[in-house]
């Protein structure tokens, strides 16, 4: 399960999708929306994606994680559209026979996603909104 979606993420379902019976570990990362950024109160975030390319890049990162870390499966979902405070904007589940590769690969996947996948967030606050670009 690798995709963009507008609806809230079911993290338990994502973890279940990643895990097979040969796996002794599932590492789950949730990126959640904070109510403050750079000292300013945030009301909600809005995500835009170059959807076709984003899903392709996400598939590529998952494949690279499998090769580099020897994990079994990588599942990930990124939200598009409006995401409320406290909701997950991104969820990554990595399954492996043992915990170390699952956790290392999970870190690699979120770091690479944030650096490479064509998705942008727009921060809405009292009195306006700004694109966050290049964090």
């Amino acid at each position: 399960m690798i995709r963009l979606q507008a609806d809230p993420i079911d993290a338990a379902a994502l973890a279940a999708d990643a895990r097979g019976d040969g796996d002794g570990a599932v590492s789950l990362f949730l990126g959640t929306v904070r109510d403050v950024n750079a000292g300013r109160r945030v009301l909600f975030l809005e995500y835009e994606a170059y959807a076709r390319m984003a899903e392709r890049e996400m598939e590529r990162i998952a494949a690279e994680a499998i090769v580099r870390f020897g994990v079994t499966k990588v599942a990930m979902i990124h939200r598009v559209g409006r995401v409320e405070i406290g909701e997950a904007s991104v969820a990554i589940a990595v399954a492996a026979p043992h915990r170390a590769p699952a956790m290392d690969a999970c870190r690699f996947v979120i770091d690479t996603l944030k650096a490479n996948v064509p998705i942008w967030k727009r921060e809405h606050f009292d009195g306006g909104a700004v694109w966050v670009e290049g964090v």
Partner: protein, 81 residues
């Protein structure tokens, strides 16, 4: 040749369009296309840091020739996660 151009995030706001299709010279590269779209959309001239470009959904160098490319996207620095 005909190229479809996509804009995202702040670049979309500046171009006041998410996509357009234009005719470009066969010899055009990504840098040349950026110069053309800056001519068409004055607010893109205010962009001081060169955006990323993707040709047919793959990140491309600035001197990548556009021969055979159907779709070019101009992308501000990404901020997903």
């Amino acid at each position: 040749m005909i190229v479809r151009i996509l804009y995202f995030a702040s670049l979309k706001d500046r171009a006041v369009a998410s996509e357009e299709t234009i005719e470009v010279p066969e010899t055009c590269d990504v840098a040349g296309l950026w110069a053309i779209v800056q001519e068409r959309h004055p607010r893109l001239r205010e962009v001081t840091t060169r955006p990323l470009a993707a040709c047919d959904m793959t990140y491309a160098a600035w001197d990548r020739p556009l021969g055979g490319v159907l779709e070019v996207a101009f992308l501000p620095p990404v901020s997903g996660g």
